[in-house]
Amino acid sequence: MRKEEFLKELSYLLQDIPDADREEALKYYEEYFEDAPEGEEDEIIRKLGSPEKVAATIREGLRSDEESEAFGEYTDAGYMDERFEDHRMPETYSSGREEDRERHQGTYQEKHYGEYRGEKTGGEQRDRTREQDREWEQPTKDGASEQPREKKRGGCLKIFLIIALCICAVPILIQLALVAALAVLGAVLAVLAAAAAFLLGGGALFAAGIWAVGKGIGVLFVAPATGLMICGLSLVGIAAGILICCFIVWLLCKAVPPLANGLVRIVRRPFEKGGTKP
């Protein structure tokens, strides 16, 4: 994957976040590539991971903005967020249920802080430190033990609601799909009918021209001037007929494949999105 592709993909994946945030993130990664030593593009892309992962990281950052508790969610329980990071921890530690782990670390932190605050107070400097410390870290202490579980419940509910919505939406979606398919069919038929009408018209003009030339030749012997005029007009008609037919055939050959391609792409799009991209 090239850097342009990577950035394009990233931009595509972030199309639903606010424009300013997306542009800022894209600018950061664009610069990141530009600042990297030349010839290391592949290496950088490999190290950054998939655009999906980078997008998830950016999104995570935005999400913690909204909750205005950036610290509460991945404090000392480990910054390496389970969702995007490789596991490099010992097996026994990470194999436990996540919830257990979080609770465990929450209480550890709680105790640790209590101990620290309760006993280790001495010296003027220490007091000043604690003052600042409290202001800065307080949200952490409150958030760390409760927030993760609450969030999990919210996640379950969200998934449930999405499933329910999907089930409810099925009849409507089927109808919508039917309507869309019919509309496409109608458009295709209309185009074909128009093409057929023009072809028929051209053919008729051609046939009429041939017939009129025959007539004209007959008239030529009675009234040469009129005969010549009829012949001339008929030939023009024949030419016009051939031209129209050729034009329609050319138009069909030129326009149909791209249209069909476009149609196929539109239909395939929703199926592609869910799967892994090449």
Binding site: E31, K47, L48, K53, Y74, T75, A77, E85, Q125
Partner: protein, 107 residues
């Protein structure tokens, strides 16, 4: 690495890296410098820088470099205070643990 890097420690490292240059440091350089001391995915730092910026510990400005604008991150006064606090905490934390490991701690 077996030890997780908590977000406070990561913040401290980033602030330390940025504070070393008076003129500020750009994103790629920060990532590379941080990666010298801790293992970390290259994409982890963007949200961290963004948050530090939002918390007014860092400010950004664009400076021209090789015909384009490069974004530099610079430490603020609040960031420096925060870094001092982190350093202090780290000193006591790491020395206690080191003492414990080497059996020097009194029971």
């Amino acid at each position: 690495m077996v030890f997780n890097t908590g977000s406070a420690l990561l913040d401290a490292i980033v602030l330390a890296v940025v504070s070393l240059e008076e003129e500020g440091v750009y994103g790629y350089k920060i990532t590379q410098d941080v990666r010298k001391v801790i293992e970390l995915s290259e994409s982890t730092l963007y949200p961290v820088l963004r948050r530090l910026q939002k918390d007014e510990c860092l400010i950004v400005y664009d400076r021209e470099f090789a015909g384009r604008n490069r974004r530099y991150y610079k430490i603020t006064e609040k960031g420096s205070a925060q870094l001092a606090l982190y350093k202090n905490e780290w000193q006591s934390y790491s020395s206690k643990i080191s003492d414990m490991f080497s059996g020097r701690i009194e029971r």
